[in-house]
């Protein structure tokens, strides 16, 4: 079992997508049950992996390696494997896909197609997090795009066509630049290795021993590809549009796990294959991270649309991830990776709440709302919980991540005699608390609004409450016992920091 478990995990969603797609016409009402089953299986498998994962063993586990394409010029392999970091991301992916399916259980419009797209997306995401060959990595990276494109453009809001095509083209261009970087890595490794065959395996390329200049240049290409995905200011403009127009399920997966592909790529590819490039790019990374944190937070304050505010807060929090990574210390990399996980859980709650607001109240416009706690108590409770988690309330998961990032950044600043920059980073925490509290005050507290018709408003449905409740439980669980996830991540960060520290 353990030698094909990753393939099993990878292709279950594909089978699920095909089966769900076939549930058209008369059989449409069964699509959601198919989706439920086929999204539960990967979750069970990932729980199995969590249990079976050997924490004391370094490197990748559950490895699967086959030759896929082998010609005189190309040597492309099918390699799957996970380490602690990928395992956490795999768990997050399967969890969110399952909960999103639960949340969207009552989807009425073309449900077979809808659930098939969710599972196609899961295929791409899992592939990205488990591939250990650049060719495969790129293929899965692109596979995530197409379902998202359809999801936004079919189930999206009024400006969905514009948002979908912008998302598609913008991120595809970034992927192509990343592909050029991958080309460069493969060609560089081939000329250093002297084999004359292009090998795309992660370990082969990481062991190539590139020169410093080469590493710096190629780091730039790959980093650009990942930065657009994360997204970092100023490459973020596709994100608010895509989020505002996307259906809730799309937003949750987009913010919860797709953005993490960018930061995961930085850790897995940029840092692992190009450690010298990482050192050379450290200052630009810190600057970009601070820019994203502060710009995202400031933009949040100005938003009228609740969902757009949450979208901008994602930019700010993903900047936080990069800030942790950019310290290049084991502490910082681990904190950044933990923030990826934490933000995945929290942002799922936030986007679900926004989806409920838009769907049940009919508007997400903050100035039109008010006093919702009286009308929709469960909704208000979940919203408050999500906002509190996101602004870093102690004992919830967001606090652990942000505290560690700030601490590692402080150490870095201290070592480089620039302690004052920590103030910039810290100021964002106040801004974050500010915009969340202010938004809550205007939407769920205060006088009940008379600017929208509240006669038909109903509270959170059972399926939605189940999904939200599970997420909130996990947020609290990992907030109190962060070691549950940290123990998986830390060894990866340790070995990376050691790799970079050698230089």
């Amino acid at each position: 079992m353990s030698d094909i478990v990753l393939s099993l995990l990878l292709f279950t969603p594909l089978v699920g997508a095909i089966v769900a797609l076939m549930m058209g016409g008369e059989r449409q009402k069964y699509a959601r049950y198919v989706a439920m089953v086929f999204s539960a299986i990967p979750l069970v498998i990932s729980l199995y992996l969590l249990v079976m994962f050997n924490m004391s063993q370094a490197g990748y586990q559950f490895l699967e390696q086959y030759t896929w394409i082998s010609t005189s010029f190309l040597h492309i392999q099918y390699i799957l494997g996970i380490d602690g970091l990928s395992l956490v991301m795999v768990f997050l992916t399967t969890l969110l896909v399952f909960l999103v399916t639960l949340f969207s259980f009552e989807e009425k419009e073309r449900p077979n197609f809808f659930f098939a797209l969710i599972m196609a997306m899961e295929l791409g995401l899992l592939g990205v997090y488990m591939s250990l060959d650049y060719f495969m990595f790129y293929i899965f990276w692109e596979v995530t795009l197409i379902p998202m494109y359809f999801m936004v453009s079919i189930w999206g809001g009024p400006r969905r066509h514009y948002a979908a095509i912008k998302f598609f083209i913008y991120t595809h261009v970034a992927s192509l630049i990343m592909l050029i970087g991958i080309f460069a890595l493969a060609f560089g490794a081939a000329s250093l290795g002297g084999s004359g065959q292009l090998v795309f395996a992660f370990d082969y390329i990481a062991a190539a021993g590139f020169s410093g200049v080469f590493q710096t240049l190629v780091f730039g290409l790959l980093f650009f590809g990942f930065a657009v995905k994360m997204p970092l200011v100023p490459f973020h403009t596709w994100l608010p549009d895509a989020h505002v127009e996307a259906p809730t399920a799309g937003s949750v997966l987009l913010a919860g796990v797709m953005l993490k592909m960018g930061s995961y790529g930085i850790i897995r590819i940029c840092f692992e294959a190009l450690p010298e490039g990482a050192v050379a790019w450290q200052i630009p990374m810190v600057i970009l991270a601070l820019l994203a944190i502060v710009y995202g937070a400031l933009a949040c304050i100005a938003q009228r649309d609740l969902k757009k505010m949450v979208a901008f807060s994602s930019i700010s929090h993903m900047g936080m991830v990069l800030l942790g990574l950019a310290t290049l210390s084991e502490f910082g990399i681990a904190a950044g990776a933990f923030q990826m996980f934490a933000h995945g859980l929290i942002t799922a709650v936030l986007f679900m709440v926004c989806g409920i607001a838009g769907h049940n109240i009919g508007t997400r416009d903050i100035p039109l709302l008010g006093g919702m706690a009286a009308k929709m108590p469960k909704f208000a409770a979940f919203m408050m919980f999500g906002f509190m988690a996101s602004l870093g309330l102690p004992s919830l998961v967001g606090f652990v991540a942000e505290f560690n990032i700030m601490a590692s950044f402080f150490f870095w600043a201290q070592d480089n005699n620039v302690v004052w920059v920590v103030i910039i980073a810290l100021s964002s925490l106040m801004l974050t608390a500010g915009y969340y509290l202010w938004a809550m005050q205007r939407t769920i507290f205060g006088r009940v609004t008379d600017r929208v018709d509240l006669s038909h408003v109903h509270d959170v449905s059972t399926y939605e409450a189940l999904a939200l409740g599970a997420l909130c439980g996990l947020i609290a669980l990992f907030g109190v016992f962060p070691a549950l996830a940290y123990d998986f991540i830390y060894p990866v960060a340790e070995s990376l920091a050691a790799l970079i520290g050698v230089i």
């Binding site: 010029f73 692109e142 494109y149 083209i169 080309f183």
Partner: protein, 485 residues
């Protein structure tokens, strides 16, 4: 008297024999279905004999002007696959027209011409093959002679084609003049001593002449008009068949004579091809964005694909040639598939305007899905065939097996990659119309089995080559080695 080994051109003989028999059969039986069936039989027999000869490795020469080797065998199979798909699409498409015998007969003749080019080892043989295909194509474009658009397209094609033929013949004759031979290998042996001035005039004439055939910018303006005016199966034939023939002719003349023969100024000639390639792919893609007729859009996308293929001429290595052949093969199925979908929908009385594709996913879900696969494959989205072939083609410009990476063509690859990104815009637009926009009509569309079969073959090829390209790449490498050694 010793006869040459006719078995080396057996596939061509089969097609030509059938082309000659068909009018007689029609005269006797007056049944269109028999004609299409007999054409199919001839094509399948030709495919079978080619495959058998490949399997038995019966490679050899015919009278010193044709050679059956891995290269010609692979391309003959490619052309036969094209005509197979075209005949399959034509079955229903021309059922309301007259002159079926001529139609199938001309189609087989044109294919035989392409196959002659594929196996030619002599300038005259190349020229005869090109002419055989061109002249039959003029008639095929004008097949619906009462349709003014077809008539206009045909006249345009005839005039441009005549000019292009004259130019290539002029180039060929100068090449003969400076080297004293029409045999490609002999030309290659003599070319390094040839005077450069005359050689350049010859190159310029051939570049322009064959440039028309492959619709390279600035010799491309006929293509959108002709593709739009011709009936769609013929457009498919021109776009994926006769254009490939132009490339084969160029590969033979430039790679075998000039690159292998190390002609004077060969690097300048390659640079000229690189510049033409960059211009061709950019113009094709940029103009395609503003097209509203789907056939014109696909025509411009064909132009840009020609630009990608011209990278092979610029780079001029054996591996690049293998990559080029690979891209030609995938292109047959993705572009051919897209045109067949257009033809099928045309038959179902859907227009050629992009607006007519609105809401197609609800009316014909499988056809829309196939079309989406073809378009995404053309845009180079993994894991489809177009991604792999572009990947191999672009990477072949940087280095080849056993050699260090060279920076010479990095700029060309960058332009090609950027173009790939641009092309996604207009391909994705069609997908958007099919899947997202609501159409005026909701009536389901059902297609005859012939179209479904043709589309199914293309889908299968696009997906299978995308996921498991290794055997095809190996065959392409063997083919390239056969031509360039």
């Amino acid at each position: 008297m010793v006869y040459p080994d006719f078995s080396m051109i057996a596939p061509q003989i089969i097609l030509i024999a059938m082309a000659l028999i068909l009018p007689g059969v029609y005269f006797l039986l007056k049944d269109e279905k028999v004609l299409a069936g007999l054409s199919m039989v001839a094509i399948l027999a030709a495919i079978g004999s080619t495959a058998y000869m490949m399997y038995e490795q019966m490679y050899g020469d015919f009278a010193g002007i044709f050679r059956f080797d891995q290269f010609s065998a692979l391309l003959i199979l490619l052309f036969l696959a094209v005509v197979f798909l075209v005949v399959l699409t034509s079955l229903k498409h021309v059922e309301r027209d007259k002159h079926h015998a001529e139609y199938y007969s001309l189609l087989l003749g044109a294919t035989a011409g392409m196959m002659f080019v594929a196996s030619a080892t002599d300038l005259i043989a190349i020229f005869i093959g090109v002419e055989l295909t061109s002249i039959t194509s003029y008639a095929l474009v004008a097949f619906r002679k009462n349709d003014p658009r077809a008539a206009e397209a045909s006249v345009k094609y005839l005039i441009i084609g005549g000019l292009s033929t004259a130019l290539s013949l002029y180039g060929f004759s100068l090449l003969y003049g400076v080297t004293g031979s029409t045999n490609l290998v002999d030309i290659g042996a003599a070319i390094s001593a040839a005077p450069s001035g005359m050689l350049l005039v010859s190159v310029a004439a051939m570049m322009a002449g064959l440039g028309f055939k492959i619709s390279a910018v600035p010799f491309h303006m006929w293509a959108p008009d002709v593709y739009e005016g011709a009936s769609t199966p013929i457009t498919t034939f021109l776009a994926v068949g006769s254009k490939k023939m132009g490339f084969v002719a160029l590969f033979k003349v430039f790679l075998v004579c000039f690159v292998l023969g190390q002609a004077v100024m060969v690097s300048e000639i390659q640079m000229a091809f690189a510049v033409l390639a960059a211009i061709t792919m950019t113009v094709g893609n940029v103009v395609a964005i503003s097209q509203t007729n789907i056939k014109r859009m696909l025509a411009y996308s064909s132009i840009s694909q020609a630009g990608y293929l011209m990278i092979v001429l610029a780079v001029g290595t054996e591996y690049a040639l293998a990559a080029g052949i690979f891209h030609m093969i995938t292109h047959v199925f993705m572009k051919g598939g897209a045109f067949i979908v257009v033809a099928a929908l045309c038959y179902a009385a859907l227009g050629e305007h992009i607006n007519d594709y609105k809401g197609l996913a609800k009316r014909a879900p499988l056809v829309a899905f196939a079309m989406m696969l073809f378009l995404f494959s053309l845009a180079g989205i993994p894991p489809l065939a177009g991604f792999v072939s572009k990947f191999v083609l672009f990477s072949s410009a940087i280095s080849e097996p056993g050699a260090a990476a060279s920076m010479q063509w990095v700029w060309l690859v960058l332009i090609a990659v950027i173009n790939s990104a641009i092309s996604l815009y207009y391909y994705a637009r069609v997908v958007k119309y099919m899947y997202i926009e609501e159409g005026e009509s909701k009536e389901p569309i059902s297609l005859p089995w012939t179209y479904a079969l043709a589309i199914g073959i293309c889908v299968l090829a696009v997906v299978v080559i995308g996921i498991y390209p290794e055997p095809v790449i190996s065959a392409c490498e063997a083919a390239a080695a056969a031509l360039m050694s």
